[in-house]
């Protein structure tokens, strides 16, 4: 079933919308959730919460890109669950990924600037559009899809150390870019 047909089912408040979403994007949502959470039951719960969130969001929201919309919901729900879990239960691989992002944050001595919701995301988007395609995709696969370094190495046909080095350089450039654009972080 095409994405616009599934969205149409949501708009009609048809229960089939959930079934069709699960059939087409269940595995996709689970992969995103599993990259953030370590517990299988949490992943399953996160997937179901995603369908519920989509059901509540459409209408009035009308997603332009349905898989991105679902992935974003899954990602946010999984992140909430990750925060709720105790340190012992957390996905270590994801913790490593979050630690990497600390490199983009300002030092505690600097004064943080308040920002509007979505404003920072727009800046990051601008930065990524200006970044070389391969480095951009590696960055997004790492920090949006939460892919592991091993998966990235396989996907982009390069060594793990090369992936780490590209990510390091991109994070460094992002930090500089955001500093230049107004000291956001």
């Amino acid at each position: 079933m095409e994405d616009h047909e599934i969205v149409h089912l949501f708009l009609q408040r048809s229960q089939r919308a959930i079934i069709e979403t699960k059939n087409k994007y269940g595995a996709y949502c689970r992969v995103i959730a599993r990259n953030i959470l370590s517990n299988d039951s949490d992943v399953e719960e996160c997937e179901n919460d995603t369908y519920l969130a989509a059901w509540e969001a459409i209408p009035p929201h009308l997603p332009r890109k349905f898989p991105v919309f679902l992935g974003r919901l899954t990602r946010n729900i999984a992140l909430d669950k990750h925060g709720y879990n105790t340190a012992k239960k957390r996905n270590r691989e994801f913790e490593v990924m979050l630690t990497e992002l600390e490199g983009c944050l300002a030092s505690p001595r600097t004064v943080e600037k308040e920002y509007e919701a979505g404003e920072l995301a727009n800046l990051i988007s601008q930065f990524l559009y200006d970044t070389e395609v391969r480095a951009r995709n590696i960055f997004i696969r790492r920090y949006w899809y939460s892919d592991s370094i091993g998966d990235l190495a396989m996907r982009f046909n390069m060594s793990s150390s090369k992936v780490k080095s590209i990510l390091f350089r991109t994070r460094k450039k992002l930090r500089a870019y955001l500093d230049k654009e107004g000291g956001y972080l």
Partner: protein, 320 residues
Amino acid sequence: MKREELFREIGSIDDHLIEAAGNYEKAKGKRGISKKWMTALVACLVLYSSTSTVLLATEYYKHQSKELYIRYLTAEDMKLEPAEEYDAEKFLRALKSDNDEHVYIATNRLVECFNDPKLRIKALNELKPFVANDNQKIADAAAFAVDVLSKSYQSPYIYKLSDGSMIFTLFNHYSDYGSQNVLWRIKDNVLKVYLSFSEPSMYIKELIPSPDRKLVAVVTCSNKSEFIEIINVEKGRVSPELVESARVKFGAQNRLDTWIRSDHENYSFANNIEWKDNDTLEFEGSLAYQDTEMIKNVTVAYAFSKKDLKVTGLNQAKNP
């Protein structure tokens, strides 16, 4: 800003970017084998795999009957047939022996006739005269055996539990240290061994039921150590051994040198064992460290349902 907030913000980047990265093919640009060759290769592999599997399976079944396969060796397997069976007649004969030790052992072992109605009556009749035996140990053992076999269950050594079953030991206080290290249970009028202990739990020193009779603290010992386990007989759950657990925990809390010996003797003891409520057992422990060079007196409390062990020092000033 927190790293989680940055991660969430990255989640809101432009849809096109996410979609493009999502569609980025795995190992793009990597030279691979053409589809045609890949299909041929897979077909060959499938053919080879299925042929070899069939051949291996055939060989396996051919030799299956010849293969020696033992999944688990039980003590009974090791003895080979005919297995040793309980021989009531042997013990009935032993009652007529002049050897007091044999008579004492036979008296206790005849309780095992309980599940056979004919043997039970026979053993009961044979044992009754021994209740008045000059040897106090034999007389006590006979009184206990008669109590069980006659199903009157009046002996203080029989512990009646909340589920209607009863537990007891045989060879009660045969030694200064305690009774035989086997726990028997009568449930639904059937006698069975419930639990037996191995060295260093050589004797059952004491059975202490909880006030509601759902749990039983079993105190076992050797000539060097004491051990306590709590059993929920009905549900078949057993706590960790508490004296050694307390010793290890207290040792870790106070950075004491806590070795576990290969013979599992801990040279530690428990006193004033009592149930504080239906779930919590408390006792004073005398815990040995550094090959008994150091003795620490502690209070131990164990909550069975929470699996919570608390060990606190007692009169530490007295200890060097």
